[in-house]
Amino acid sequence: MNPTEESLSAPHVLDYTYKRSLGPILSQFFTGLRDKKLLGVKRKDGSVLFPPKEYDPDTSESIDEMVPVQDVGAVKSWAWVAQPRKQQPLDKPFAYALIQLDGADTTLLHVVDGGSEAGMKTGMRVKARWADETIGSIKDIACFEPA
């Protein structure tokens, strides 16, 4: 008997099969991304959180006034990925970056297609490059590129 022919097998998919609602604020954020619009949320002090949150991280107050932010901004910090892993967004060297978009007071964690490490600089201006198809995901922004 050949055990490889006789053994039973079954697929094992490691996954949590729950479905969760995004909630009132992130729903608007991701619907905005699908429509290629960037939406932050205004805090009581007038500053704008982007990406938005349902609650103010300092005061815990509910916040719900959505405001548009620009698709261009400045790199506040960056880390060059010389050898991207297959799960990571780009299949060539790129930078993870904290990017403060114009109109926002906080940074977005995303990726910059900067060409080379020498081309990266804190303070550099970058602009969003949209994915060919937008579906309501953070990856609707394919990456940022030097503006």
Partner: protein
């Protein structure tokens, strides 16, 4: 508050890859060593609490297998946290405070070598806005290090000093994984791993386990001549997102240190679970440690970083120096989350 003491500690060798043992088999000899050394039987333990992560094992409820290391009879009252064992110790301490236990066994274990740890760590981030981008843990730390360096709050020399000290201290630690004499100049001459981090700025990836015995009140003396009494223990969490935190300091460590009373008297020894050298600089400042504190005599997390056990091991290493009389007062630290999001601070004293 009830007086609770750390009276026993055992740990495995930190190894980059434990080829022959699964994660339960790593913890079995550690718990057996602790129980044998303290002549502890299962019926003596009122409570058992463990810290581990199913994300490292890659299967839901994988932590249940860890209980095989304790033994199934007589039935144990047990709990588990999906956190470092230092937080399991906090739960056990709270259980004792509530009067539900007097003797508690705490253990932590992890085998991160089964996966790609820096990438696995992306699963702890925001599942909608961050994890889909798979930012690895080293890149995340590099984002913070760059902010600190460019803001001028620390220098790469400060970072290299931590790495050099930890690895030198680790030469005396038989359980350490990375040890040796590396001068600051040598470290600064190394190429970047992820700019501005060099290899020496990063803790190793380690498989391993540790276990601690807690005992309340006068019974502590039955297990230890000079118990390490927990005089303060606190943990504080900051928001998950980097963008609403001040990354140039560790605010949660500052608050935890104040609540635990770190600054009330001289700290002889501090054991820090810092995954990266720049974070160690921030932690030393947040804890208010000066030149009169012996920081990381074991080498800390920079010398051996068994995921889910490294924080608990810091408490054990700090306690060990109370037991042998080399320290009167010691501070242990544990961390969780990206870029020092959550921090636990524990103050131990010999009297």
């Amino acid at each position: 508050m009830r007086d609770v003491a750390v009276v026993g500690f055992a740990q495995s060798q930190s190894k980059r890859r434990e080829v022959n043992l699964n994660d339960t088999e790593i913890v079995i000899p550690v718990i057996h060593e602790l129980k044998k050394g303290k002549n502890l039987k299962n019926e003596d333990m009122d409570f058992v609490c463990s810290g581990s992560s199913d994300y490292l094992a890659g299967a839901p409820f994988a932590f249940v297998m860890g209980l095989d290391a304790v033994g199934a009879w007589p039935p144990v009252c047990e709990s588990h946290v999906e956190m470092d064992g230092a937080w399991a110790l906090y739960e056990a301490w709270a259980k004792i405070q509530m009067g539900y236990a007097e003797v508690a066994l705490v253990y932590g274990f992890g085998k991160p070598s089964m996966g790609d740890l820096p990438l696995t760590m992306a699963l702890q981030l925001d599942p909608y806005t961050q994890t889909p981008l798979w930012p690895d843990a080293i890149s995340m730390a590099a984002l913070q290090a760059r902010i600190c360096l460019e803001a001028g709050v620390l220098t790469d020399r400060d970072m290299a000093e931590c790495a050099s000290r930890d690895r030198r201290n680790a030469k005396d630690n038989p359980y350490a994984q990375v040890k040796g004499d590396f001068s600051i100049e040598q470290i600064l001459a190394d190429p970047y791993l992820v700019n501005p981090l060099r290899k020496h700025d990063c803790s190793p990836i380690s498989d391993g386990a540790s276990a601690v015995l807690l005992v309340a009140g006068d019974r502590a003396k039955d297990y230890c001549d000079r118990p390490a009494w927990i005089k303060g223990i606190e943990h504080i969490c900051e928001p998950l997102d980097l963008n609403v935190r001040d990354l140039t300091r560790s605010r949660s460590t500052e608050i935890a240190a104040e609540k635990a009373g770190v600054g009330n008297a001289k700290v002889d020894v501090a054991e820090l679970a810092s995954p990266f050298s720049h974070q160690e600089v921030l932690l030393e400042r947040a804890l208010g440690l000066g030149a009169d504190t012996n920081v990381n005599p074991s080498g800390g997390a920079m010398a051996g970083n068994p995921m889910m056990a490294v924080g608990l091991s810091r408490i054990g290493e700090a306690a060990r120096r109370i037991w042998d009389g080399s320290a009167g007062r010691a501070v242990a630290h544990a961390t969780s989350g990206p870029c020092l999001q959550q921090n636990l601070v524990c103050v131990l004293e010999g009297n």
